[in-house]
Amino acid sequence: MLTILFDGVAYGMLLFVLAVGLAVTLGLMNFVNLAHGAFAMAGGYVTVVLMNRYGVPFLACLPLAFLASAAIGAILERTLYRRLYDRPHLDHVLFSIGLVFMAVAAVDYAMGSQQQVVRLPAWLTGRFDLAGIGIGKYRTFLIVICGLLALILQLTLSFTRFGIRLRAAVDDRRVARGLGIPVNAIFAATFAVGSGLAGLGGALGAEILGLDPTFPLKFMIYFLIVVVVGGSASIIGPFVAALVLGIADVAGKYYVPALGTFVIYTLMIAILIVRPQGLFARPR
């Protein structure tokens, strides 16, 4: 029971790191980026290639995965995404689906369609007992890392100048611009960081979520659920949504495996019916 809760929390934390960048894209620029999972996949594959071909240790791969995805994100944002901000949502959807299809096929071509394995270092595998509950070491590691990241993000948003400007821009882009806040530059930076976090999440999650070329399609719905249900007004919203989703998914799969992912989709639709703006969004 508690083990499931623990696994659920770890899974939820991971989802949060994966999806938080999307919350910013949606909240700040109102851009429906279905290709967010592709950045996560990029991070995962960077890790796999570095570890298996060049023998880079796992911990050193994590920042590299972050940097690689952030770089890809920044380049794409500057060259492609920024042209489309003012277009209707349909264009966003088409464009990002196109990117996903290309990413899936390209990775399939370059790496093959099989599941990739990340070999964790020995000190991260196995379980230890705490008061009679079996706890996975890697799950603990995930919770610590992702919890720290969430804390850092929250502090950055609340107390730094960058965070304050970012929040102002989310609240009202036009007024923020009028006050001299460089909204576009802030957005570019945030987009890169969000993509980087997705890449980091992909690297961390390769072990738990599995990593193959269809990754962006398989988990697209999860990221979207986190953001849409959590709302994009704060970090807390997606964080809570990710935790709930993670626990519900793990528990659902454990207790009622016959229903599969049924539980989650039903839950999402139900929440969106009651609160179309998301659970934590302020009414506009």
Binding site: L80, H89, D91, L94, F101, L217, A258, T266, L272
Partner: protein
């Protein structure tokens, strides 16, 4: 109403409204060519059948996207539903194709009506999520209910009876193509009539500005629900056609790829004038045939590239370019039809 009471603008609008539903020469030519393909290309009947089904599916999406402005990421929900209903009926021994079509349409209609209440709440993003969620949900049901649907192995053992008890489905696909084409044409005529009716014009008003449409007395919610339900029925029929003509249904009828592909088809052809889906389906399937011949596994790469380029170049710009070319082509044929009108006015 006498002519004297109608001001100049009203008369022009009335004339335009009256002229819009008239069949143009290019349209007639389009359908004549389609029927010609039925007889002139005996070796391409199977792909013809696929094109006709995809065209019907895209047509159903055009009704909500092109005319009512509702973006759906899960239109495959109804396609898949229709396919499974028709397949299961035939497997249970009710193999009459037309009966299967009607039941599939009814099933898709009822689910479409039920989900229309969910979908039409909230803005674009919520709609995207809910349509996507509905499709995933149905796909998951089909996956889990393996005792009924065959799960991941697909629904096998569908045996169709001859259409009207006369035309049996053959290996070459001639009957299948004729059948799908006939259904496509009938439903196209219905849709064409519909979008030129006051109902259709009110949909366009809603698409362009829901607030204003409501202000002039258009019941926005009921109209959107009605067209969403109708679109679901069309998609259901398309799915049923696929199940009946290929005599196989697999889980990928619900796949996200299918919803995304049909969006692309409609975007290639252009949304909002009914022929977009048909032309798009033709181009899409031909491109798929060529490209997947080159790189069978990575064909979606080119789909993706096409989507990205389409969006970056701008859908409107492409549509405008195509329209001006078409206008140049059809000007001569349309000229005489308009001329007597201007004399009368």
């Amino acid at each position: 109403m006498s002519d004297a009471r109608i001001s100049g603008t009203t008369a022009e609008v009335a004339a335009a409204l009256a002229a819009a539903p008239r069949w143009r020469a290019a349209e007639i030519a389009f359908w004549v060519l389609t029927v010609a393909a039925l007889f002139a290309l005996p070796r391409h009947q199977l792909i013809g059948n696929e094109i006709a089904i995809l065209a019907l599916f895209a047509l159903s999406l055009d009704l909500i996207l092109g005319y009512a402005g509702v973006v759906s990421l899960g239109h495959a929900a109804f396609f898949g539903l229709g396919a499974y209903v028709a397949g299961l009926l035939a497997k249970a021994g009710y193999g009459d194709p037309l009966f299967g079509l009607v039941v599939a349409a009814l099933a898709a209609t009822s689910v479409g009506f039920a989900t229309s209440f969910l979908v039409l709440r909230g803005a674009d993003l919520t709609r995207l999520m809910v349509t996507l969620g509905v499709a995933l949900l149905l796909g998951e049901i089909a996956n889990r209910a393996a005792w009924l649907t065959g799960g991941a192995d697909g629904l096998q053992g569908i045996a169709m009876k001859p259409i009207f008890g006369i035309f049996d489905f053959d290996m070459r696909g001639h009957t299948a193509f004729s059948y799908s084409l006939a259904v496509l044409f009938l439903l196209f005529v219905v849709a064409r009539r519909l979008v030129h009716s006051p109902f259709g014009w009110s949909l366009r008003a809603i698409r362009d500005n829901p607030l204003r449409a409501a202000a002039i007395g258009v019941p926005v919610g009921p109209r959107l629900r009605a067209v969403y339900t109708l679109s679901a029925a069309y998609a259901g029929v398309a799915g049923a056609l696929l199940a009946q003509t290929t005599q196989f249904v697999s889980l990928d009828v619900f796949a996200f790829d299918r919803s995304a592909d049909v969006l692309l088809v409609l975007v290639i052809g252009g949304a909002g004038y009914l022929y977009g889906g048909l032309i798009g389906a033709l181009l899409f399937k031909l491109a798929q045939d060529v490209l997947s011949g080159l790189t069978p596994q990575y064909w979606h790469f080119w789909v993706g590239l096409l989507l990205v380029v389409l969006v970056l170049v701008g859908r409107e710009r492409i549509a405008r370019g195509a329209k001006s070319v078409l206008k140049g082509l059809t000007r001569r044929s349309r000229g005489p039809a308009v001329a007597p009108k201007s004399e009368g006015a």
